[in-house]
């Protein structure tokens, strides 16, 4: 057993007992990265020096009997969408090449204050737009379970690094499934908190009414512990919720006896992978055996969610990405004549094809003459999608479904077909439109050894119950103990 095989909580216990130091754990991560990252390519940059300085400071605190948090000294990674003071942050885009943020995102500050060494920045789809990590301008990340396949996206560097045990945990962001789908494809746990639960301050914006950061780890307990550190009100984010943070670990082992779990018929559709469906159906039977009641429910507007999302998210993105104009930061086209040409050339050269496609789509949906037919109409359908969930949650405690309709697909398979790529988010994006919490927990493997994820959706601010439901299943299987083969 290697040090990097430990879960976050197991490592934290060893750190607390003085059996291992944070510097040893951090060096173990750095060594593991040197060994496996040439194959996985999860990292865009490793901050060896910063991580070791933080680890030594953590060891000093532990020695003095004064740890900053229960996870003090546990090394983690960050999706390259979180601003890190003094460490280059690109959001996977050429337009931000060389950008060194002058301040930390709130969640980065919280992790630093809690004593976690930050090992480096993880690859992602450019500006989080994508479901396979292939839209990154920098490198192609490979799934540790099959190196010829995608680790999912957009937080695919985070999922791959956690699955390959290069870090003990990571933070990702989820706008339409970008934490949960990569978690499902890599046998890891990913939680998208309720909109407003975790601060967005200092996170490079994609779609502001949908974006939410959250933990990606190997176990449900680790996700609960990491969420504990970042779920709090932030006056610097006007949409941050002033809601008290419960103890997410207190009721984790509470089981599911007596809970009513909804199974939405619209989430079991034609075209989904039969092995994914079989794994999820088996998990549902397991929940019955564990004492939960399954309830057949309907979310009738589900079939409109994809269209709604692909109008709202690009519209918000086209507005958010207007800031990349080559004036204040990032790259600037050098040979442009005049200001307008400078803008247009900078953006033409700095953005990749998927980002341009979404800016174009969003600009069109917001433009004069089309606003009512596209953007406003999508916002109205968004209301109907939200109301579906509100009605269902009057009757059930949570909703269960597959996270992704298919297991990890081959790199290159969907790159030239944007619509088929967008379909990868069909089960995850309604949750973002409704602002609800959702998580993905491992629920087995296909015959070819590809991981399958089970999605649990819940009421606003009901993350503790989602974690408890996921843990009840995890405890029966311990899929997280299985190491990824790192083969192609």
């Amino acid at each position: 057993m290697q040090l990097t095989d430990l879960t976050m909580l197991e490592l934290a216990a060893k750190l607390a007992a003085g059996a291992v130091s944070s510097e040893e754990a951090t060096r173990a991560c750095l060594e593991r990265i040197r060994q496996v990252d040439p194959k996985v390519r999860a990292f865009l940059r490793v901050d060896e020096e910063g991580a070791l300085v933080a680890a030594r400071a953590s060891d000093a605190r532990r020695k003095a009997g004064n740890p900053a948090s229960p996870l003090d000294g546990v090394p983690v990674g960050l999706k390259d969408i979180f601003l890190t003071e003094g460490v280059e942050t690109t959001a996977g885009s050429r337009i931000l090449e060389g950008f060194v943020p002058p301040y930390d995102a709130t969640v980065v500050r919280l992790l630093k204050e809690a004593g976690l060494p930050l090992v480096g920045k993880l690859n992602m789809d450019e500006f989080a737009m994508g479901s396979s990590n292939e839209s990154s301008a920098y490198s192609l990340t490979h799934n540790p379970w099959d190196l010829t396949r995608t680790p999912g996206g957009s937080s695919g560097g985070s999922s791959a690094a956690v699955a390959a045990r290069e870090v003990f945990g990571a933070l990702g962001t989820d706008t339409g499934g970008s934490i949960r789908q990569p978690a499902a494809l890599t046998n890891t746990v990913g939680l998208k908190p309720t909109y407003g639960r975790v601060s967005r301050f200092g996170i490079i914006a994609f779609a502001s009414s949908l974006d939410q950061p959250g933990p990606m780890t190997r176990t449900v307990g680790d996700t609960a512990a990491l969420l504990q550190l970042i779920a709090r009100h932030d006056p610097q984010d006007a949409t941050s919720a002033a809601v008290e943070t419960p103890d997410y670990s207190a009721d984790l082992e509470g089981g599911v006896r007596g809970l009513r779990l909804g199974v939405p018929r619209e989430y079991f559709i034609e075209g989904m992978d039969p092995e994914v469906e079989a794994s999820v159906r088996e998990a549902l039977r397991e929940y019955e055996r564990l004492g939960a009641t399954l309830v057949d429910v309907s979310l009738p507007h589900t079939k409109y969610a994809l269209a709604t999302y692909y109008l709202i998210a690009p519209a918000e993105a086209s507005s958010n990405l207007a800031r990349y104009d080559g004036i204040r930061y990032g790259q600037r086209a050098k040979d442009a004549r005049g200001l307008k040409e400078l803008y247009a050339q900078t953006r033409e050269r700095g953005f990749g094809p998927e980002v341009k496609r979404r800016i174009m789509l969003g600009t069109y949906a917001l433009s004069a003459g089309y606003y009512d037919a596209y953007y406003l109409r999508a916002q109205k359908v968004r209301t109907l999608i939200r109301e579906d969930f509100t009605k269902v949650f009057k009757d059930v405690d949570a909703v269960l479904s597959p996270t992704s309709p298919v297991p990890a697909f081959k790199l290159g398979e969907k790159v030239d077909d944007p619509l088929s790529m967008y379909l990868m988010d069909v089960f995850t994006l309604p949750c973002n439109l409704a602002g609800l919490p959702g998580l993905s927990v491992p629920c087995g493997f296909t015959k070819a050894g590809l991981p399958v994820g089970l999605q649990v959706l819940g009421r606003p601010f009901d993350e503790a119950r989602l974690l408890r439901i996921a843990r009840a299943y995890e405890r029966e299987h311990d899929f997280f103990l299985r190491p990824a083969p790192l083969r192609g």
Partner: protein, 95 residues
Amino acid sequence: MALTLEQVRHVATLARLALTPEEEQRFSTQLSAVLDAVAQLQSLDVEAVEPTSHATLAESLLREDVTRPSLPPEKSLANAPAKSGTSFAVPKIIE
């Protein structure tokens, strides 16, 4: 719904993107396909439905309007592609 090349050029101007002719062609095809797919929303009756612009589920809070330290000019300018003193430098706007 088909997006003509002319419409693609108009949207690219609004979005400040200097697309190549190949990109104009490709986006015309791809965006038309996406617009066809989202056209299903037109079949819903949403006349009486209020739009949702934000998923904020908790009460929004206003904070006290007090001054706080902000980034010093040298930090704000540290990433500027071109600067002049304590300002961002841009090409001449008025001839």
